[in-house]
């Protein structure tokens, strides 16, 4: 279950509430934060790390939280490669390899890829690790979209690289055949790695397509609504299943003229969501009087549970 939406609409709150709701219905639940703003720590009062940390609330069953540190993941990845390189690369080339790896670490795409890579690992390992449900608090919308479309794009790309490598290996084998040389004992390490990568990426792609549900969070205002509609279309095109639209921070009805005016305005945007995404159920969460805290989660998760989530 993935929770996405524009920045500042309360994704983290909704994700945490969903996790609480899921835990309350008896599922072993893991909340995964990918938001670089570390907002989950402020909400749940524990500092999540790369390993799951339990979160206990006064009411309801406990659940766990984990945060992916993209920077650390990228660094680990590069260090692992550098260690491998030391075994296969002649000493003369090693400094050049190290330079190249360091340059890659600094490039902007690397962290995003590292984030996705780790997320893929967590999702693929979830069942084996005993989690019934994983709730992912994603980074802001544009980012999420790119992230979710990537496994599909990348498994195709890696397949292309693998094809090229296999073409090369076939030709080389023919040349070896002519020269009456034996085939090498060990399989080609490059092809083996590319194949492994392709399989993982394809598994993540399939998992996202077949088992993931994306819930979109928005608030009843113009920009967030417009963007949510756009995101819904794009995510569907990418082959992802959509769950509900959570409309957060809806004002309660009241006699106050200000509240009444806001209420009318919000109703208009709620109608717009209904009109543009008629097939998606809507769940309305109230605007709380104070900053949301861990203690508020049971109330919000009760609403979500009532909505069948």
């Amino acid at each position: 279950m993935l929770v996405g939406g524009k920045g500042g609409v309360g994704k983290t709150t909704v994700a945490a509430a969903l996790a609480a709701a899921s835990a309350a219905s008896g599922r072993r639940t893991l909340l995964v934060s990918t938001d670089p703003a570390h907002s989950v720590a402020d909400l749940v009062g524990v500092v999540p790390g790369p390993e799951p940390v339990p979160v206990t609330t006064d009411a309801g069953a406990p659940w766990s939280v984990l945060e992916i540190d993209a920077e650390q993941a990228a660094r680990d990845h590069v260090d692992r490669i550098a260690a491998q390189a030391a075994d296969v690369v002649p000493a003369a080339v090693l400094p050049a390899v190290r330079r190249h790896l360091d340059a890659a670490l600094a490039s902007p795409g690397t962290q995003e890829s590292a984030l996705l890579d780790r997320l893929g690992d967590v999702l693929l390992a979830a069942q084996g690790d005993g989690w019934d449900r994983v709730v992912v608090d994603t980074a802001p919308t544009g980012h999420t979209l790119r992230l979710l479309a990537l496994p599909d794009l990348m498994s195709g790309w890696v397949q292309g690289l693998l094809n090229q490598r296999e073409r090369f290996l076939r030709t080389e084998a023919l040349a070896r055949g002519l020269a009456r040389e034996q085939a090498p004992d060990a399989p080609d390490p490059v092809a083996a790695r590319l194949r492994e990568r392709r399989d993982v990426l394809a598994a993540v792609r399939d998992l996202l397509r077949d088992r993931a549900v994306v819930h979109l969070v928005t608030v009843p205002e113009r920009l967030p609504v417009v963007e949510t509609v756009r995101a819904a279309v794009a995510l569907r095109q990418a082959g992802l299943r959509l769950g509900v639209v959570v409309v957060n921070r809806v004002f309660p009805a009241g006699d106050d003229p200000f509240l009444q005016a806001r209420g009318r305005q919000q109703a208009q945007w709620l109608d717009r969501v209904a009109a543009d995404l008629p097939d998606l159920p809507r769940v309305v969460l109230p605007h709380l009087a104070e900053d949301v805290a861990l203690a508020d989660l049971p109330r919000l998760s009760a609403v979500l549970r009532d909505a069948g989530l």
């Binding site: 030709t171 084998a173 023919l174 070896r176 055949g177 002519l178 009456r180 040389e181 034996q182």
Partner: protein, 579 residues
Amino acid sequence: MPAIVVAVGVLGVFFLGYRYYSRYLANKVYGLDPAFVTPAHQFNDGIDYVPTNKHVLFGHHFTSVAGAAPIVGPAIAAFWGWGPALAWIVLGTVFAAGVHDLGSLVVSVRHQARNIGSLAGDVINKRARVLFLLIIFFLLTLVNAVFAVVIGNLFVANPGAVLPVLVQIPFAIAIGQYIYKTRSSALAPSLLGVAVLYLMIWVGEQVPLDITPLADLLGFDQPRSLWVVLLFAYTFVASRLPVWVLLQPRDYINSHQLFIALGVIVLGITVGLDRIVAPVVNDVPEGSPSVFPFLFITIACGAISGFHSLVSSGTTSKQLDKDTDARYVGYMGSVGEGSLALGAVLAVTAGAAATQVEWEALYADFSTASGGAVGNFVNGVAAFANNLGVPLELGAVFAAVVVISFAATTMDTGVRLQRYVVQEIAEQAGFTPLARNLTLASLVAVVVPMAMALLPGGGEQGYTFGVLWQLFGTTNQLTAGLALAVVAVWLTRGRRPTLPVLVPLVFLLTMTAWALVVNFLSFVEAGQVVLAPLDGIIFVLAMWLVVEAALALVAARREPAVSLDGQTEDELVARRDRG
């Protein structure tokens, strides 16, 4: 005179040429240096640049340059009698081809194994590179046109050859697959394969494939034209495949056929003691092309061929182990080609006819001679094979299969080369759509020679062929001329003896220009709207070459002398930097 005596005599002269003249060339002219670090060592990459044993390298070189051309030219040139034809083959091989093949190899080795086109731009000037591209364009266009006609004629005359030639294609691929898979030596399967191929000759004889009805149905003027179209269609497709898929396996089978054909000729004339029935000097009918200058453009490959400089430079030069090996590889390459030409002359003068009267009918006039030349060669080889107990009909199909196979792989190679030439000319001319599009370039490389091959030649079948062949000869000689000019300029800079290069250069250019002028006048007279301008363009290229060569030589003479010995300081520094 028994053919074997002539053969021994010619081979004896070749031997003396190699023994003495090539030694003079190697020591005094080219200054081969055993200490020179050849590009094969300097840039050894295990693929293109590989120091190779000189006998193996000679094998690569010879099988690359040997083709159908040294068969067709001499077979036509026997028209003037076997004396002039053999004299030009012997003198050309010893004093022109040897100098040219060895020279282009050495110049390339001394310039990081670059090819002759880029050397022309470097040693002469930038314009010379464009000139080179244009000459090669016409050379390849004409070679593809004449070989399409040769193959078409042979298929029409020997319908029994169609099946074996067709079967050869899957066969070559299958042998390749077998060698790849089993990692065994290729010798036994290849011998078996060639044996089965020759069994197909017998089958082909029972099932001749004559396309005349189909050609009539499709409205072709003659069956040959349908073959020409089919051949170019095949070539277009084949040239789009990677080289190793079809071209290399076919070339490989061809190499076996080359050695078998040479063996049949040598053994045949030894066992049968066939006598040469053609006159030493033929009394040609009035109005025929004269020996001077036409003999010298009719026999190009076999006496001197510019095509060899393309193989010497850029390919063979990358694999030369020692500088001094160049003498053996380069000079013997031309001797090998000369020997093939010798075989062709003997086949058409001793094998093709039993009596002088019979022979004179085959070579009655130039049109008959050129049109029937390849057929005469085929029948001649059949007669030699007959001495060894092979039935005449089978021998003829065998020889036809050999010539067709050679010509077909030459067409495939030619189209591949031509599309790069087309792309580069387009690039130079700033015409990017053609320069960037390989399919379009291939189409140009196929359609232009096809149009040329289909050109009706004044009503007589042979006329077009003889004329096209001579035009091909002129472009081949111009290519050789350009390579010789490069060698001469390089030698002049080093103040080395240049006469051995200048004499063949001047002789070739004179004969070529002379022939082009005579032909131009007769084309204009006959109202040949395609051949006259084509001849004119080639003449302009020839004059351009004369001017560039003369200017470059004069300039080189004025420049301060440069040492050609060993590596230059820059090269050694570059080498050290590369580690």
